[in-house]
Amino acid sequence: MRAFALARRRDVPGLLGYALFVALMTAGYYYNITFVQLGLIDLGTRVVGLPRTTVSLWMGVLALCTFVAAVAFGVAMDRRGWSTSLRTKLRILLGVVAVQFVLTVAAPFVETAPAFGAWIVAGSIALGVGFPTSFALAIDTIPVPDRGYVAALITAVTYGLANAIPLEWSIDVFATVMTVAMLPGILVLGAVASGRVSAIETVLDDLATNHHDYGRGRFNHPDPVSTRSLAFLAPLVLMFGVFFVDSLGFLRIIETPTLLLTSWQSPRLETRLAIAVAHVLGALAAGVLYTNFSKNGVFLWIFALFALSHVLYTTDLRIASVFPAAASDPALANPLLYAIAVSFYTTLNFALWPDLATTATIGTHSAIGIGMAGWLATFTSTAVALYLAHADVTLLTHLNLVNALALLLLFGLAVGLYAKRMHDIATRHDDPTDRDQQEYDDGAADPTADRATTEGDR
């Protein structure tokens, strides 16, 4: 890890860069998976009194607005050069966090449908501006070789905390906790972005030039990845599938009281700690795999883990339908496996988009990547999950559907990779003049032969 080298050199600005990025991403992600994903459903249904289908529609609006705002702002960041200006990004983030603070304080007081809609639109714009900006900090703070491990750390801390210290899933509790947590965060970020603290300015001066070295992500060699290339679109589709599969299953699982007993809302501390440990170990394993293997290998693991955990969930449900009394005490193995799968894809998500971008595309690629694969997929599946629940689709049928999707993506990816390999081989046979380039692409020129082949989805 480069961080160890920085520590040996006592490069304090470099290490503070890591800390800043991890802190911002962890706080942002925790806010999203708790306050936004769970709190807003409670706000809409319980406080405002809207039907679940209406709330699901508003969640779809939130996703769409966030996506549009993110893409618009991400493109603007790249075109105006904000992506490479560390201080500009920090000031933008300060503004975003300040707006989110006001929205968070105001959320429990939202009581009418129009106010709820207005909150959703304002919140989505803040989110849309915030996440491409925070992802773009990677090019100032995190060296390319360390992105997998840093992503693993962000995932491990976020899910470890969320599981070990669970909150009641109500907007009041989320709003109180977030308000208390955001206040010191705003003060620190204000000091960092103010430009008036000389010690901080020295650190920022040091970090501000890093994008020359860290700006070109892992998958941009030898040529940069363009937004319309298969190298960008293929992981985009796969990540969309991952987020969709996860949220579709998760939202139904947390609606089922017996399954909730073994989720992060379990009343038992040992259950929550076991899930927290599984999340942490899963994240660290994903970090190691991302750093040492091709991203396709990590994708295959994710889909395999999701498929396996849903096979176990559905097996449990089938047995419980035959022996109803057995359903009262579900096995812990399922949520543990599920937690590992979630940590895997979350880690990949944090590392992938900066690695698919350069300094010229970090804003756009992060916005499209997270906006489409993350937000749009999550809230589309939220809407579908709520609709299916409203349509009285049974839990077994619902999870069967999720399992089918996971299996389809797993086998689709495996077949796709195999077909691509076949195509590469066939192309090489057809065009002997291009043999040298093919050998280079396949890594025959260096000892990383096989790895370079799997890496070569450019």
Partner: protein, 293 residues
């Protein structure tokens, strides 16, 4: 007891039922609550009954026509069981004046037969492992070490490069190998157990577990051969055999250290298993992706 905890024993019961010639579809299972044969099976049912949880009582004036299996919970026989009674786990009490007309077989769990109760035939299978003497332990360990050392000797003579490739991956890329080994080992095991639950795939599951066992043995041999390379022994095959024997003994000795010993042994096995997998059993050297920057 959860479904997944009970299921392996239920699978065993289904196999026993099928082996006895009875219809597995007719099996009825009591999972919880207080139940009697009439409540569980109805007055006309005659299929085998399985007690997996809760309290199951055959009252003094009642009888069970078929076999009774206990895999969890508590079963009390105050009346008559015409068939055999098998206890795999849980508790069984044959109270006075209870009658078991068939064979009462105790394999696991707790079985109590009151003095006034009638049991036609009683057998018990002691599955509790006997505490081995020191000589027996040393003998078994020596056998294991010799067997794996012989395997290492043969592999080092026939496939020295493959063995060396796996060993190098285990030492040069221990973290990656460990992660891959732990992940693959766990998911394979979970997948194989899930296969066993389908009953139809039990043979595949058994074969899979056997295959995983062979891969682990190969991993231990490869790591042992790597260890042998640090010994001052010139011949490769002898060094591999010596290293493997030393590793087997070391893994056994680690057992004596509580918790940490088991974790270290598990880590060594995971690293070895991962090294086997990332090198395709030693056919190809493992090199991590080259990251720019």
């Amino acid at each position: 007891m959860s479904v997944l905890d009970t299921l392996p024993l239920l699978v065993v019961v289904l196999l026993l039922v099928a082996g006895s010639g009875a219809d597995p579809d007719a099996v009825l299972v009591a999972f919880d609550g207080d139940q009697t044969p009439d409540e569980l099976a109805g007055p006309d049912a005659s299929g085998p009954l399985v007690v997996a949880g809760g309290q199951f009582t055959v009252p003094a004036n009642a009888s069970v026509d078929g076999a009774l299996y206990v895999v969890g919970g508590t079963a009390t026989v105050e009346g008559t069981v015409d068939g055999d009674v098998t206890v795999l786990a849980g508790n069984l009490t044959v109270a006075d004046p209870g009658v078991v007309a068939g064979e009462l077989q105790s394999i696991g769990g707790q079985t109590d037969v009151a003095a006034g109760a009638t049991v036609a035939r009683r057998t018990s299978v002691d599955v509790t492992p006997r505490e081995r003497t020191l000589a027996e332990r040393v003998g078994v360990l020596a056998m294991q070490a010799l067997a794996l050392a012989a395997l290492a000797f043969l592999l080092a003579r026939r496939y020295p490069t493959a063995l060396a490739t796996v060993g190098d991956a285990a030492t040069d890329h221990a973290l990656v190998s460990g992660v891959v080994g732990a992940l693959a080992g766990t998911t394979l095991l979970v997948g194989l157990v899930a296969m066993a639950f389908t009953i139809v795939l039990i043979p595949v599951s058994v074969l899979g577990v056997f295959a995983e066992f062979l891969v682990v043995a190969y991993a231990i041999v490869a790591v042992g051969a790597r260890l042998g390379r640090v010994f001052p022994i010139e011949r490769n095959d002898v060094a591999a055999a010596t290293g493997t024997a030393a590793l087997v003994v070391a893994l056994d000795l680690l057992d004596a250290v509580p918790v940490v010993g088991a974790l270290v042994a598990l880590a060594v096995v995971c690293v070895g298993l991962g090294a086997v997998l990332v090198t395709y059993f030693g056919l190809q050297r493992f090199e991590p992706v080259q990251l720019p920057g």
